[in-house]
């Protein structure tokens, strides 16, 4: 484990119904980096962040986060330790107001209500949802629900923000705003970004890990990934990368 890594996975493997979905995946994310995790559909990206965040338990391997071995920790404890997680399939409190959705994320670490409200406002402004603060979350458009999901991640003020395909379903202008948001966060927060949109990866990521069929295929800076014949080959069959 590198000295400065915030997150370190070693030899992670998991099977579903006897089928190996991830085998021996190791990778490190240094503090402050924006790391993209890419790979074709079904490569195991969501499963991998599930293992990192504790939604799933590995059959073998370890996860270290912020200097602790969190391999056997339940997910809520990892979140308290400083992970923020956003879902690929939008998971918000549909019947509650936008404000309450974000407040639930902020309240866990902010004791005073005035501070909670400040964090909520800050997070909503950052994703551009400030004007919807009193709307019922389920009434928002799909794209806005995706942004709310991101706001809930931000409001947790995590050390590591895990974003599972945040730009899916966003309009072009929202995607531009998202890139700007990641630039804002750079250095402040360590980001692990699962992303299919190659434009976003190229512009936002400091470093890229490519996953294919449950294994790490390639790691490098965005331009190297773009140049890699290996990666291009992986994406050729049933690829949906826009690069």
């Amino acid at each position: 484990m590198a000295v400065l890594s915030l997150l370190s996975a070693q030899g992670l493997s998991i099977k579903f119904n006897g089928l190996s979905v991830l085998s021996d995946v190791s990778f490190d994310v240094p503090k402050g980096q924006v790391r993209a995790l890419i790979g074709p559909n079904g490569a195991g990206k969501t499963t991998l962040v599930g293992l990192l965040s504790g939604r799933l338990l590995p059959s073998s391997g370890t996860v270290h986060f912020d200097g602790q071995n969190v391999t056997n920790w339940p997910s809520h404890k990892r979140i308290v330790q400083g992970m923020g997680y956003t879902f690929q399939i939008t998971s918000i409190f549909e019947t509650l107001r936008v404000h309450e959705n974000v407040a639930l994320a902020a309240r866990r670490h902010q004791m005073r209500d005035t501070l909670v409200n400040e964090v909520v406002e800050w997070a909503l402004v950052r994703v551009g949802l400030a004007e919807y603060v009193n709307d019922i979350a389920g009434d928002l458009s799909y794209g806005h629900q995706r942004l709310l999901e991101i706001a809930m991640g931000l409001a947790q003020q995590p050390k590591l923000l895990i974003l599972d395909e945040p730009t899916q379903g966003l309009t072009e202008s929202d995607i531009e705003a998202f890139k700007a948001l990641i630039d804002d966060l750079r250095g402040e927060v360590t980001v692990l970004l699962i992303e299919h949109n190659m434009d976003v990866v190229m512009q936002a990521a400091d470093f890229v890990t490519v996953l294919e069929s449950g294994q790490v295929l390639f790691e490098g800076v965005p331009s190297d990934v773009k140049a890699s014949a290996l990666v291009r080959a992986a994406y050729l069959g049933g690829a949906n990368a826009k690069a």
Partner: protein, 315 residues
């Protein structure tokens, strides 16, 4: 313009004030009914915390009501304790029991949770029958008037009965209101709406559920204990499956996840059966038809509809 939070407090305060004033106007028959209704509505408030706010459907809450009922009843009939001590014993019995059952039942979810709670309650019912020597089984036992005196006031007296039931209801309602408006209560609502999300916001969902089962069980037991002390009768029917279903019905009718819903549902159901049984022997049929209508036209229960249509700020 009053803030929503203030309106909410005033509305619930108004209900309590109304219930307090009611005793001076009600004829004797309804006076007695209301005392009973307020005690059972407190039981329903306890149930609602778990079902309406946290989204956990228990089919075995009768065991907590019965724990309070028998805990305090037996404390008096078998050990000759005073009313105050008996009340504490009743609540403590419900508290311990709900902790044990909660710890075991929370290993399951959904339908399995319903079945496990149902089984525990059935085991409780059979336990009551098994120890018939002390509990007198189905027949039950009566607490003498002389034993039901608190601070020199006889609880069997009409006025003190109403006032005691009202006090219990106040405590339950205010506790519930304070809880659901607190940070803790907001997490419960979050669990009900999206458990996975709540967990991934860093809340220990199982712990929250466990605490709520204990709270819910203890309030149910408090209501059970008060029932024994006010009405002087302790019988196995209160431990039966009907008494696990009733609070579910009352809460659904009145509005799950509303503070005042359990009272509204209880009053509604009580008088529906009371009035229809005066008109026809097929009163359960009448009640059934009305319930079906409510389920179709007011699926959120009376207060649930009121909240979603009129008073959006209602807790």
């Amino acid at each position: 313009m009053m803030s929503d939070s203030k309106k909410d407090c005033f509305a619930h305060g108004g209900v309590l004030l109304f219930l307090f004033a009611l005793q001076f106007f009600l004829p004797a028959y309804h006076h007695g009914n209301m005392a009973r209704i307020m005690v059972l509505a407190s039981y329903a408030i306890g149930y609602n915390l778990l079902f309406g706010y946290t989204g956990l459907l228990s089919l075995g809450h009768a065991i907590f009501f019965a724990a309070g009922l028998y805990g305090s009843g037996l404390a008096i009939s078998q050990f000759g304790f005073s009313v105050g001590v008996a009340l504490v014993i009743g609540v403590a019995a419900g508290c311990v029991l709900s902790a044990v059952i909660g710890a075991l039942a929370l290993r399951t979810e959904g339908v399995a949770f319903m079945i496990v709670t149902l089984m525990f309650a059935q085991a409780g019912y059979l336990t009551v029958l098994y120890f018939g020597e002390f509990t007198r089984g189905d027949e039950g036992f009566v607490l003498a008037h002389a034993d039901r005196v608190l601070w020199g006031v006889s609880l069997s007296d009409q006025t003190s009965k109403y006032f005691s039931a009202f006090s219990l209801f106040c405590v339950s309602l205010i506790m519930c209101l304070a809880l659901v408006r607190s940070r803790f209560g907001k997490v419960l609502i979050a669990i009900r709406e999206n458990e996975e999300r709540t967990q991934m916001l860093g809340y220990n969902v199982v712990w929250y559920k466990f605490c709520t089962i204990i709270l819910s069980g203890s309030i149910s037991a408090l209501a059970g204990a008060t029932y024994a002390l006010l009405f002087g009768y302790v019988g196995a029917s209160f431990a039966s499956v009907e008494y696990s279903i009733y609070p579910l019905l009352w809460v659904l009718l009145g509005g799950a996840g509303t503070v005042i819903g359990p009272l509204v549902g209880m009053i509604f159901m009580f008088y529906l059966i009371d009035l229809s049984s005066g008109v026809t022997t097929a009163y359960m049929l009448v009640a059934g038809v009305v319930l079906v209508f409510l389920a179709v036209f007011a699926p959120q229960g009376v207060m649930g509809e009121v909240r979603s249509r009129i008073w959006k700020w209602l807790s």
